[in-house]
Assembly symmetry: C2
Homo-oligomer: 406 residues x 2
DNA sequence: GCTATATTGTCTCAAGTTTAGACAATAGCC
DNA sequence: GGCTATTGTCTAAACTTGAGACAATATAGC
């Protein structure tokens, strides 16, 4: 039961019904391809005539194309329809603290060109200049990828929903930084920008494979230097009035807990970030600026997992402690948002087999109902490049979105 | 940008456009009444002809009626349209631990008959029997209220979104209890049932006065024996996959904190419930079953506020401590949901002038951005009966809801 | 090889929208 | 009294889905 906002509504015009059914058909082709007009009509509960008109529209716009004819047990063979992802591509950009990553995908988010990376230039203008060059270069070197439909950029910070400026990216030290327009000017392409956690959630929602396409609300939790979280409710990413919705990384586990880079204390992030896990292993707070031995500074969570698998009891203990806190924080997400599924990404999921019991135990400790404690959790490995897929989705998804109505 | 769920969509039929515009018009009449057809057409951006057809529909169904003609500076006088709330009413029921409350309202949630209350019978069947009698009695005694359009019931527990059974109401000791159908059978009326926190949020969203009608996402926090929270996102109450969404009362402030009736420790509820505030004042944990003096057992938060206003330093300290924790928990809500507005209800808001600075301070301590720390907070006083208004809304609102689309 | 059956995709007409604009009724202003 | 502005209704045009007929096509069975 949704309320119509009397200050911001959309009346139906003559073309509205058509537009609705068009988008539904487009999404069904995406979800079920290859699929025939007749099957579409059956799934939609429309007459074949109506579907034919819609499909002709989609064909004319080049969103869909007719492939080979399929097989049928009787009668005329169906002509299969596919989303037309040929000869068009998207450039996905993931700006992180130390390095920036770049990938070329098709419109369904499938990787076309290997991931490129380079050190992140902290000065926004210089970064945009470098990025512009890199984007043009990779497109020139891979003409076979086709026409570029746009550039998707994800950043570790808040992005204003309207102006699309970067309001605040603490790890980069950016405040009110404009990237979208200048990168668009530099490349001559449309540029979309979004917070990385929100984009990851978006990518999972729009995942091409039907089995992965979530059936309900979902939350994406990215455990890395910081904790990025994206929340999808009713098929839409939660943005919030001040563009901070979904920041569960800064919901406390203990208000008297360890200090967090955000300024507060005891945030979830302060318990489960990679630095927190490593600090636990080394028995010292690595966030403090005290000098640490080089081998400690270069030590990563991947290294920690290797040691844990080799039987290092301290490494196992550090991972399991983080796992429990991870589970306790997931309980907050479950009690607050209660999604159908939670995705977890980050370096630590490489050790999922080791930590899952402790995560589940932490979740069960605080989840409000036994069913809720069983909320499905799926891991997303690093080689799936969730952030880059999120960036690609920023460009590819709008064509499939529901029309704004009522 | 909303995704269409390819497993659960709604195609547009011939009547869809009409239905959309009809609901928009109905909502606009509700928001702007009295309003003329011509004004409706201007606001909607439709031709007057189209609006006339829609309005005739609404008139025929009795949802809207034509009142007096208005004034105009020039030309023909407009005929004003109003939501027809004459001679129809709703019975609102609020089941709480010790007492059950009952009120009769019109379709816009305006109180028609004084609040009736009686001790809550803990045995569901007997409660339904008693409730059935009370509902029939109050309707018989107030024929002037008109035809009853349904009964709305709110309970302090989780309600299954599909079956509408009460899955679990801890304070009442209920598990998987059915009330809706048996009360419908007993009264011969349609019965709607919902969790009280969710219903309160629903009531704020559908508040009749335009100034109160929230402009964006909102959260309702009810501070009482327990903490009830309802979240509205995109004009819809968040329910969650296991019907527990919005339970911020059990998101922790400190996982090592005081024990909460839910079984976990350090929940927000354990810091700010009325019992927690009183425990703080008396310097002893009132949740423990140790015997306490009668004057302590009968002491309420209202009494505490009276003492605070009289200058009792310990009372002020207890309230301010609760206020700070209240603010810290609101910060979790702000960081996680980031609503445009937060409503707070419960006994403690009677002392809002005393506690607001401490609440704001707590919120500022943890809110992720200075803007977010300024999130609008509105108090809802007890005499506004938020839970009963929520119950009434359960019955009245569906007629105004947006049609399910795409 | 022939017939019956089943399926796909197109086409036509009917029913029901919004869109555009004309029209009568009404009322204030000069 | 004439002019102008406003409201609400009405009619025709444009475009939608809904229902069903139709041709083309392919298999199964005799």
């Amino acid at each position: 039961m949704r309320k119509i906002n009397p200050n911001n509504f959309q009346v139906a015009t003559r073309g509205t019904s058509r537009e609705i059914n068009r988008q539904i058909a487009l999404n069904l082709v995406r979800a079920h391809q290859p699929i025939s007009r007749a099957d579409l009509a059956r799934i939609m509960g429309l007459r074949r005539g109506a579907v034919s008109l819609i499909v002709n529209d989609l064909l004319a716009e080049g969103l869909v194309f007719e492939g080979a004819t399929g097989e049928s047990h009787r009668g005329r063979k169906p002509t299969f329809l596919y989303i037309d992802s040929r000869e068009r591509c998207v450039v996905a950009v993931d700006i992180r603290v130390t390095r920036t990553f770049l990938m070329v995908t098709d419109l369904l988010g499938r990787q076309l060109v290997g991931v490129i990376s380079f050190p992140t230039e902290r000065e926004p203008k210089r970064l945009v200049a470098e990025l512009g060059k890199r984007v043009k270069k990779v497109l020139a070197e891979h003409k076979e990828a086709g026409a570029c439909k746009g550039v998707g950029v994800v950043v570790p910070g808040m992005v204003d929903r309207k102006t699309r400026r970067i309001i605040h990216a603490p790890t980069l030290g950016w405040r009110d930084v404009e990237i979208r327009e200048s990168l668009a000017a530099a490349t001559g392409l449309q540029v979309h920008i979004e917070n990385s956690g929100k984009a990851c959630a978006l990518a999972q929602m729009w995942a091409a494979r039907e089995e992965t396409a979530a059936v309900g609300d979902l939350v994406f939790v990215s455990v890395s230097d910081g904790i990025g979280v994206g929340v999808v409710v009713n098929g839409e990413v939660l943005r919030g009035h001040h563009n901070i919705a979904g920041e569960f990384g800064h919901v406390p586990l203990s208000i008297d807990g360890p200090r967090c880079p955000c300024g507060a204390t005891g945030c979830w992030e302060a318990y489960i970030s990679n630095l927190a896990t490593l600090s636990r292993y080394f028995g010292r707070n690595l966030r403090e600026s005290k000098p640490v031995p080089a081998e400690v500074a270069a030590f990563t969570v991947e290294d920690l997992i290797i040691r844990a698998r080799a039987g290092d009891a301290k490494a196992i203990a550090a991972l399991e402690a983080t796992a429990r806190y991870l589970g306790l924080g997931l309980a907050s997400i479950v009690n607050a948002v209660d999604p159908a599924r939670i995705y977890i990404g980050g370096e630590i999921v490489a050790a999922w087999d080791l930590i899952e019991p402790a995560v589940r135990a932490g979740l069960s400790e605080r989840a409000l109902s036994p069913d809720a404690a069983k909320t499905e959790i799926r891991t997303v490995t690093l080689d799936e490049h969730p952030r880059l897929r999120g960036a690609a989705t920023l460009v590819a998804a709008p064509a499939f979105a529901a029309p704004p109505i009522a």
